[in-house]
């Protein structure tokens, strides 16, 4: 009686949850407050935000998510370690058997909290680290943040907590990519990089000026090295947001994704289950077919593209239209002329 039923459990769990509309993966934003002022951050107001979810409301939400079938849970901010109840929330999430990841800038984690996290067997702490000391501190606006961040990353690893360093690739740090790559390997962390900067949550596009230009990115992503997505289907142009992926923001609004600002309901006065199952907006989203994305479904680069409907909406004004950043990135990564 083998424990494994199929050859690829990851594909199976995705397909089962997608078809059954099970909210398999989600992000819960615990706060918008942050002690840093990163130049590229999409959060507009990072100080003194009130009306955020209480400990009891977060716990109630987690119970509802576990009941609905959520396995993969990300806790994010703002900076989650500004919440005095962060370890209590993590501990509760692990008691409910979530696969738990925490996104943090790692400047506020105490030695005691590192030991507590180690005992909780979380899957990873993902830490924003933007480059060398000078680069990092310039981007965060806080002198000393690099050293605090790196010290916490090393301590977490020393206690057996998996760590991923991650950064957007921007004008201000793209030259530090090889430094980050070597640093991650040296300390035993993984590295995640993303060339995407998103518009601010108030719709402002001012921060997009920090995006790296084509020449910078071509050095990181050599042309013709990108393979088409295996098993690509044009429905991939619509992503899994609202099908088996969700987000809850710090006010309790339920969204298909933090990048797709369609408010479906609020957990302060509705159950997650009722919103997830009955939201008219969500059911409309789920009913969309690939031909809703008219231009892209005929694009020869579609199998290589990682179009985000949220970015198409917030940056280009139409979630069913092309995403200008996706068009640009697919052109860089494939060396093909994107239509």
């Amino acid at each position: 009686m083998p424990p494994s039923k199929g050859p690829n459990p990851s594909t199976n769990i995705f397909n089962v949850s997608y078809c059954a509309k099970t909210p398999l993966s989600g992000t819960v934003e615990l706060t918008k407050n942050c002690n840093l002022s990163c130049v590229h951050c999409y959060i507009v107001s990072k100080k003194n935000n009130r009306r955020e979810l209480s400990t009891a409301q977060v716990k109630k939400l987690l119970r509802q998510l576990a009941d609905e079938g959520t396995l993969y849970l990300v806790l994010t901010g703002g900076e989650v370690f500004l919440r005095p109840d962060i370890i209590e929330i993590c501990s509760y999430a692990r008691k409910l058997n979530f696969d738990l990841r925490i996104f943090t800038n790692a400047t506020l984690i105490s030695g005691k909290q590192i030991q507590q996290l180690a005992s909780l067997n979380i899957s990873a702490v993902e830490i924003s680290l933007y480059g060398r000391e000078k680069t990092h501190d310039r981007i965060t606006g806080l002198p000393g943040s690099f050293n605090k961040c790196l010290s916490a990353a090393k301590e977490l690893l020393r206690h057996g907590v998996p760590v991923a360093l991650k950064t957007p690739l921007m004008r201000g740090n793209v030259k530090d990519y090889s430094f980050l790559s070597k640093l991650a390997a040296q300390i035993g962390a993984s590295l995640k990089v993303d060339p995407t900067i998103t518009p601010a949550e108030d719709g402002s596009k001012n921060i997009l000026k920090h995006r790296a230009d084509d020449k910078m990115l071509e050095k990181i992503y050599p042309k013709n090295k990108r393979s088409p997505q295996i098993g690509y289907d044009t429905s991939d142009l619509l992503c899994s947001a609202g099908h088996n992926f969700f987000a809850v923001n710090s006010k309790g609004d339920i969204l298909p994704c933090l990048q797709l600002p369609l408010v479906l309901g609020n957990i302060k006065n509705q159950s997650f289950k009722s919103v997830w199952r009955d939201s008219a907006v969500l059911n409309n989203l789920r009913g969309l077919k690939s031909d809703s994305v008219k231009i892209c479904s005929n694009c020869p680069d579609a199998p290589y593209c990682q179009r985000c409907p949220g970015l198409a909406l917030t940056e280009d004004g139409d979630m069913f239209g092309p995403s200008s950043i996706a068009c640009r990135l697919v052109r860089i990564m494939t060396g093909r002329h994107s239509s």
């Binding site: 424990p3 494994s4 396995l71 899957s123 057996g160």
Partner: protein, 87 residues
Amino acid sequence: MEKIKKAKHLAYRKIGGIFFVVDSRSSVLHELSETASFLWERINGKNSEEDLSEILSGEFLVTPEQAKRDVSEFVEELKKAKLLEIL
């Protein structure tokens, strides 16, 4: 008899009637069969291999001997995957 417990470093959820189990140290995902899922729900630190065999033969049309073999194989596989602790 030794009692069987789920390992501490796991995340798991029942989806579509079967359990998916993640090893949080490696992020490796395991998918259990229907019968394995039935047994997984009954691994609670109190049941032994013998207890699980009795529960299995009481629930399904299998002989006690077959249930014992099935549970033994199940426990060995999960021990090999480091999903269990034997108390």
